[in-house]
Amino acid sequence: MSDELFVLGLSHHTAKVEQRERLSTSIQSVGEELRRLLESEEIREAVLVSTCNRVELYALSSPAGVEKARSYLLNRGGDDLLPHLYEKRSRDAVHHTFRVASSLDSLVVGEPQILGQLKEAFDAATEVKAVGPFLSRLFTSGFAAAKRVRSETAIAEGTVSVSSIACELAEKIFGQLEGRRALLIGAGEMGESAAKTLAKTGASLVILNRSVERAEALARQIDGSGRSLDALVEELLKADVVISSAASHGYLLDEHLMRDVIRARRHRPLFLIDIAVPRNIDPRVGDYDGVFLYDVDDLKSVADENLAKRRRETLAAEKILEEEVESFLEWKRGLSVKPTIIALRSRFERIVRDELSRTLPRLSSVSEEDRKLLERMSASIVNKLLHPPLKELKDGAEDPALLEAVHRLFALQVEGNDEGEEDGESVSEPKKSGAFAALQRLRIASSEGDHG
């Protein structure tokens, strides 16, 4: 039986986080996991991808290898994971790989991290020599497909996380945020996330909290400074961006307070982000000139709109993937008939060589030039004779009956096939890595010949 590509795993589509985490593994441990998997003779090549949203094994193996891989995963995560595991083979597996690389299968469609994670997993597998020519081609084609999707569609356009949107908006008001002053009121989880995103832009951060200790603890994490809520007015005068996420009944920044603050700021623009529920900032404050006020619903609606826009782009992205999958499968088809083509050509060439070596000595006077001319003519006859069958072979690469017919007609012997003729040309199908390794060996042989 020939080797086949399969993908076996679970993702956010089929399993909850507590189920996914039972199978997940760190990138440092991936190498060891793959070594163990490849101990099984049936699995030729493998890549293990483990992210927070998916754990997937991409492998080239015999059908028995799929079962081995399934047992391996269930041993690690528990038998109850079986209903959550999905399996994709051949074309579906190629299509799935390309969809994952292009972020079409991600929880947040168009997110850029998955491509980096796939590359990391591929590198880890390459390091432990778990990747052969097939998976190498599959993954590099997948990366190229992802690149095409990102550049030819708007799949990655528009930010979809609330904190990134807040940051993007701040940049639309102030340009570069480096050197700007951001104020975080309250040390809640969402505020913290937005503050961390802002900190990455180079803005200096001040955290105000009722508990100074809590403010200082968070400030240490994001390289900011922590103060008591008593410094609110003083900090409001200096800030460019304010993120408010404090637990408070009634407005913390009411219109009366903000009117004085805005006057004292002398027309300097102020971006207020109120992500607290109940809200911390009086909505009327947003009517003041130079003040831009956004609440959590505003940010969320932008995120939703961007996400919907990305989803609309998936149709165009799928078309690109179809083209890329076809191109990969064409390569694969060519690969499966390559050993037969090489064997066929080699058989014809051997016949010509033998006949020439038998005939030439019998001729009375053959100069070196005549000999070369005869060799060239023979090679040309071989090429012309082989052209139609080789073309037919390449076109019908997926038809096993055709391959079988060619083998029988031209007495090409498949290695390990006892029915072949004694003088039959060998079509390598070695135990470990199928046609791909055979191809590799033939390549090596041909390059050695070149050097010779």
């Binding site: 550049s151 008001i173 623009p269 000139d289 609606s301 932008v302 961007n306």
Partner: protein
């Protein structure tokens, strides 16, 4: 024939570049900005050829009368835009600048011969006066375009329409800075224009050339002076400063319109 050909090519290239830039705001695609910049560059070359042929064939100096000044003014604005784009890479500013340029250029063609300068008043000082005013107006056109972009962007931000076109426009800070800087450059040039104009009128004798056109010119100077002082002393910026800049620019354009319609007297 050559003049007309270059004029038509210039207009066609400006229109194509503008359409392309506008389309890329609503549906961004790769290479659109670069192509638009190339088209604007090509249009500027055709524009220069138009002015050069106009001078060569009709002996029509760009600083001799209103239509020549308008042609030079529109080319100056585009050259300034190209310089800004090369240095600062401010996206989509052309959307606001190219239409203004087109209006000036079409004005140059449509009002041909309307505001010719009489022989008796033509002098080198007048040409210096026009050169200062045209240079000042180039800067104010940039300031006004940035101010207009600011108001559009601020409106979108306030209405929370922050996907689509909003994402392609520059930040408020950048637009405010461009508007302020261009006003600061334009103001001394306009001041020099006002002074040379005053000297020219004085030399020409009494108030023969004083009229409502000159009054609007002075008003333009006052508005820009006001905006700059408020920016400097009162810390004004943003929408109010942008509105002030647009009012000042409208006054400046009114001066040109008044010359074109000959409603203000004088030259």
């Amino acid at each position: 024939m050559w003049v007309s050909a270059f004029f038509i090519i210039t207009i066609a290239l400006y229109l194509t570049a503008w359409t392309l830039e506008l389309a890329s705001v609503f549906r961004p695609y790769r290479g659109a900005r670069k192509l638009s910049a190339i088209l604007v560059g090509g249009a500027a070359c055709a524009h220069l050829a138009y002015i050069a042929f106009e001078y060569y064939i009709h002996r029509h100096s760009p600083l001799a009368d209103l239509n020549g000044s308008l042609a030079a003014l529109s080319l100056g604005v585009i050259v300034a835009l190209l310089l800004i784009q090369q240095r600062k890479k401010i996206p989509s500013l052309g959307i606001f600048i190219i239409p203004i340029t087109l209006v000036f250029l079409l004005g140059a063609a449509l009002i041909r011969g309307v505001a010719e300068v009489p022989e008796r008043v033509a002098s080198a000082l007048l040409q210096v006066h026009i050169a200062f005013n045209v240079s000042g107006l180039i800067a104010f056109t940039l300031a006004a375009a940035a101010a207009l972009a600011y108001i559009v962007q601020e409106h979108l931000l306030r209405k929370k329409r922050i996907v689509g076109a909003f994402q392609q426009l520059p930040s408020l800070e950048v637009l405010d800075n461009v508007s302020a800087r261009a006003s600061q450059i334009g103001f001394p040039l306009l001041t020099a224009g006002v002074i040379t104009g005053a000297v020219f009128i004085t030399r020409a004798g009494s108030g023969a050339f004083w009229g409502s056109t000159q009054t609007i010119g002075i008003l333009t100077w006052i508005v820009f002076a006001f905006v700059l002082v408020l920016r400097l002393v009162g810390g004004y910026r943003g929408k109010r400063a942008a509105l002030g800049t647009l009012i000042g620019f409208a006054c400046g354009v009114s001066v040109l319109a008044a010359y074109a319609l000959r409603i203000g007297g004088g030259v």
